[in-house]
Subunit: 147 residues, 2 copies
């Protein structure tokens, strides 16, 4: 599936979500979705804000924060807190469940997916009699120096 198709699907999902929840389909909301799905893997609100300031549709920080909540609510975006207190966001439509390796020096974020996580979750659900909603696994590491 091309990234255009992914964007289109995301827009459709967002539209349906907005309709079903009685929210208006404003140009700002779609501009934000478009920006996110066109340009980023992981990002923070400030980056998004400054990029969109130099674009055609300028939105305020307030609108960005509002819209992020909507996008999170309809599973088009996920929110992370990687240690510092700047929230990081990530688009997540059709992106398989994965986890993160954060490189200490550079802040670079790698992604991986290990099936053993699912096994652990299954064990926990039984052990604690809980229903797992989601999880976050972050590995903090540094690159090996000696080759």
């Amino acid at each position: 599936m091309s990234s255009d198709e992914i964007l289109n699907q995301a827009q459709e999902i967002f539209e349906v979500y907005l309709e079903q929840n009685g929210h208006r389909k404003t140009p700002e909301r779609f501009a934000i979705l478009h920006e996110i799905y066109t340009n980023y893997g992981h990002f923070d609100v400030e980056t998004l804000f400054s990029h969109m300031q130099s674009g055609e549709c300028r939105v305020s920080r307030a609108t960005l924060y509002n819209t992020m909540e909507l996008l999170i609510d309809c599973n088009l975006v996920r929110k992370h807190q990687f240690g510092d207190n700047i929230a990081q966001y990530e688009k997540c439509h059709r992106v398989g469940q994965h986890d993160h390796v954060i490189i200490a020096d550079s802040g670079e974020v790698l992604e991986f997916c290990d099936p053993r996580i699912q096994q652990i979750k299954a064990t926990l659900e039984e052990l604690f009699d809980i229903e797992i909603l989601h999880h976050s696994l972050n590995i903090y590491a540094r690159k090996r120096k000696n080759k």
Copy 2:
């Protein structure tokens, strides 16, 4: 090992750490360590602050934040970010590596330890040629309703 012994060991570790790194052994620092090791599992700075205000040794928030860094540096305390942007801390001397289940409704924190995490980490170190420093795995769940 009793909790008194754990406290004593922690104090000793802290003392050695302070000496070796040219930090002074102030009463505030030991009062904070004592408060943490006597009273909490997980806690945030504000809780610690207000509890210590009503105690004998009153410390400022600034000192609390400073001291938390020292304690983290010598592995007597760990820092978490469970989603919101209030940092949560946890004492960790002689507490085996473990991870967390956060119950959505109540905010209750359960602990667990699964050896498969270590296996995953070993795999990742090889895969990405990195040296893993630490990790954080948080499972967000809700309690099963029907019994």
